[in-house]
Amino acid sequence: MIKLRFASPEMLVDINEISDLGYHRVDADGSIHVGALCRHADLERSALLATRQPTMAAAAPLVADPIVRNRGTLVGSLCHADPQGDWASVMVSLNASVVAQGRNGRRTIPVKELVRGPFQTTLAYDEVVVEAIAPAPQGEAAGGYLKLERRVGDFATVGVAVSVDRIGSQVTRAGIGLTGVGGSTISADDAAQVLVGGSLTAEAIGEAASLAAQAAQPRTDHRGSASYKRHLVSVFTTRLLNGLIRTEEEAA
């Protein structure tokens, strides 16, 4: 941002030397906490996410490239507020929040309310985000993340994050986040809502995919036309949800 002259801060504070912000852990209530210095690479190799949080586990290896993942962080990605950031879609689909520390203490901000627009957040000038929290699943967590990119490390043409909590085959909560198809990360709430209360039927999935595509606000650019990107939102949503359908035996 500084090199591109988008930002010219008078002072920059490096938090890298703070040793105890590199954690990610699950609390007794089942919520997942990611510290501000937890690197993408830590999440990519995390046994915790692999067993407990499939949407985050699916996204971690797709962020930037392996070298960038050694330095970049999930919290940094959220605060950067790039509409093409992968983590924002994932965390929006999980109904996650961040904890901001300021001079007057801490406050919790839902990720959906953190971003005001491209590269702009609702953080006050004297606040830093110290951790992100994904709430405990209402039942069992299922989900995934799909991204189309022209090559490793390129910005997403389109990315879709899907998170579904279930008890048996009954969906108790759902979230869908869209990457790179608007001025900021899009939470496709209407699409997610049609999944709640029943099981993942072909009809519900079709409706969710169509509503997700309607929620997208893509623009034609060198990565593809608006209609192509909208189509991809539908394809990815369908593909992700189809992958979660269970047979009766599996659900039992």
Binding site: N16, D65, P66, I67
Partner: protein, 173 residues
């Protein structure tokens, strides 16, 4: 009148904040006084004259500036030099011994793993990090580890072969 030198107002220089930093570079402790805005790649190249580290894109895309930072590969165009204070940096110049090439360098030579050579230092440092962690990688694992390094000449085929060659040589040693 034109001249090669221009006297500058000493006040202007005094206004520029500087930091003294000590960085371990290729095993040797080095101290420098830098502006906080200086990026690590430029400290290495212009400050320490270690010009093997290349700056290609300046935006964390190409990976030509890859160095090892406390043993992990990072893109040195996206780190400030002051962030390296107290840390350990290894550049491509740290690979070869006094009289012989590192197995990775030999591999790139033997397998024709480079054409123009611009991306090569970054490729080799990313390969070093891979082989340190995984001495016997598969082709897929090599392609994964080098996916943050761009090469516009080779088509990557011979780079992958070079890393496999180096892995074998290191195993045999």
């Amino acid at each position: 009148m034109t001249s090669l030198f221009q006297e500058v107002n000493p006040g202007a220089a005094a206004e520029t904040p500087t930091r003294e930093i000590t960085v371990k570079v290729n095993g040797e402790s080095r101290t420098a006084v830098v502006e906080p805005r200086l990026v690590l790649a430029h400290l290495l190249r212009q400050g320490f004259h270690l010009t093997g580290t290349h700056t290609g894109c300046d935006t964390s895309n190409c990976g030509a500036c890859t160095v090892l930072f406390d043993g992990k590969p990072v893109k040195s165009c996206t780190l400030f030099a002051v962030q390296a204070d107290g840390h350990d940096v290894m550049t491509v110049e740290g690979l070869a011994g006094p009289s012989e090439l590192h197995a990775i360098q030999e591999g790139f030579k033997e397998e024709h793993g480079l054409q123009c050579g611009f991306c090569t230092p970054g490729m080799m440092m990313a390969s070093k990090a891979l082989l340190d962690e995984n001495p016997n990688p598969t082709e897929d694992e090599i392609r994964w580890a080098l996916s943050g390094n761009l090469c516009r000449c080779t088509g990557y085929q011979n780079i992958v072969k070079a890393v496999m060659w180096a892995a074998k040589k290191l195993e045999d040693q």
